[in-house]
Symmetry: C2
Subunit: 341 residues, 2 copies
Amino acid sequence: MPRKKSAVTIQDVADAAGVSVSTVSRVLNGKDDVSQVTKDNVQRVIEELGYTSSLAARSMRSHSNNVIGVLMVDVSDPFSAEVVRGIGEAIHDYRYDLLIYSSGRPQTRSEAVWERNQVRTLNGSITDGMIVVTPVAQNLPSNYPLVVIDPAFIDSAGGYVISTNREGALAGMAHLIALGHRHIGFIGGLAELLSARERRQGYEDALRQAGIPIDPLLIRSGDYTRVQGRRCAEELLSLSPRPTAIFAANDRSALGVLDALARADLSVPGDISLLGFDNIPESAVVQPPLTTVEQPLREMGATATRMLMKLLRQETLPDRVFRTPTRLIVRQSTGAMRAGL
Amino acid sequence: MPRKKSAVTIQDVADAAGVSVSTVSRVLNGKDDVSQVTKDNVQRVIEELGYTSSLAARSMRSHSNNVIGVLMVDVSDPFSAEVVRGIGEAIHDYRYDLLIYSSGRPQTRSEAVWERNQVRTLNGSITDGMIVVTPVAQNLPSNYPLVVIDPAFIDSAGGYVISTNREGALAGMAHLIALGHRHIGFIGGLAELLSARERRQGYEDALRQAGIPIDPLLIRSGDYTRVQGRRCAEELLSLSPRPTAIFAANDRSALGVLDALARADLSVPGDISLLGFDNIPESAVVQPPLTTVEQPLREMGATATRMLMKLLRQETLPDRVFRTPTRLIVRQSTGAMRAGL
DNA sequence: CTGTTAGCGCCTTCAC
DNA sequence: GTGAAGGCGCTAACAG
């Protein structure tokens, strides 16, 4: 496999066909002011040489390629994976291709800078508009159509898709409180994200409404990752009295809590109840299946896609910020508080 | 959001900084023959203007971007989704970004042509190498590093990742036969794909080895989709005698069979046993959980990534064709043949 | 109908 | 150290 068997260019085709490059360009772009014979001839040569126009060069001239871009830090994380599926399904309804860009190395030192640059780079060249998933950057460049899913802030022009995080947290907490829990630990999400701040707000508001004092010791700062979830859980477990329930700001963290619990030989929900958020597929198959606040991940991707399409058509969005509904899903990781605790 | 607030170019930066474009280009590319003061100045201006070089223009000159491309027809299909996750995980170990390209409209009339063109286009411009997932095209252009997962043919130069499909099918069939089944229907996969042909081979070989005659009526041509799986199953069910077991060439088809079975009010495995292939996540949570031949999808993605990296480093592959192992997973959709049938 | 002429934004000699 | 000039592959006027 020769590393660089210089790709065949439009010039090569022109030469081989005995015409000028512009003629080739014309048949390439289906202009109808070309005689049938030359057209056929050029087509044949193109076929023979296996020529395809260079994306780079093409998009440098005609600033539009019918491609929408999706930017995410990590395609392998279940949250992003689900969102992508939603986008992938929704895009079927439009004549756009999909280009998903993701950084190899996760956690760059300055992720926000990377995000901003990437949006600018992609949107300035090959992409007609973008969907950015879970960016930590504020003020994403929005000279081109842009929709953000689960944003850090609602600042740039463009569309936003975000769930009713506070309400979801409220519902989850109500469930825990109804089960008799009073001593509920909280593992927060990545504080840069609006969703994390809103969920925390929900946690505190629920407590307040129930007349339960807020204990700072019960609140830990996670970052939506499994390992950090585990670490926070370990801290929470070392408290005395130990919390009788833990609300993890997302399912990945909750999975980490499960790790810590297993290690500490504590049973769920016997010894301690656990509540997650997101309802990623894993949460249903883990043992025990997680009670969690569902966020319609696929739908969020689909909604973002539709918003972006409107933006591309120069339409104005009915709502710049679209709130997707959350829903409590009770499975087996939560139970009534045991008497005597 | 102005549709085209012309992105800031290197020229703008040069003007604002009072230098020439070549100087800006130099600091951009970290050349050291620029005085510290101009360098700082230019940096500042770049920052202020929020400039990023255009991917298109850049990759037109310097033919390498540290980006690997992945081409697939549909990101929302579970098979592809799992493979992507594997790729996404593996790429963390390298300093490459990931660019996944997928057609909006699935099933173009001439998908093979699309694939070939896309590989050529991407690899000729922004991408340093590519992984193509489940292509129907033969002879993919391989002037650039290329690895194919689940290929149609093993023809182009480049690497291939494909499971031991025949062996897997053999194992699955052995299981069915051991349960007493003799009358086993087969729903084939997309005949363009090597995997489909190998699985069918496994089906027939297993029968032959067991001394069971091959009945053409029991063999249906599917295409790996759920709807087609359902259609084939309906045909199979109208046969008399009805098969006592069905081997679907992939899980998606098997899901379609389940649809047909539910509609016909037949129980699994009571009335009929069902065997799938792939072990996509869905197969574990459906009712009843599917007995299936596992293909390590994530690992296939990871393996392809590692092969591509070798190719990029000009190393030669120990094996041009990498066979990933399959494994029978017995769940609850298969059971012993009922007496009296 | 078709060829010629400009660039798109960038990088790379080659001078100064 | 820095600027000017040429060209990467392509499209879009403008001429004929």
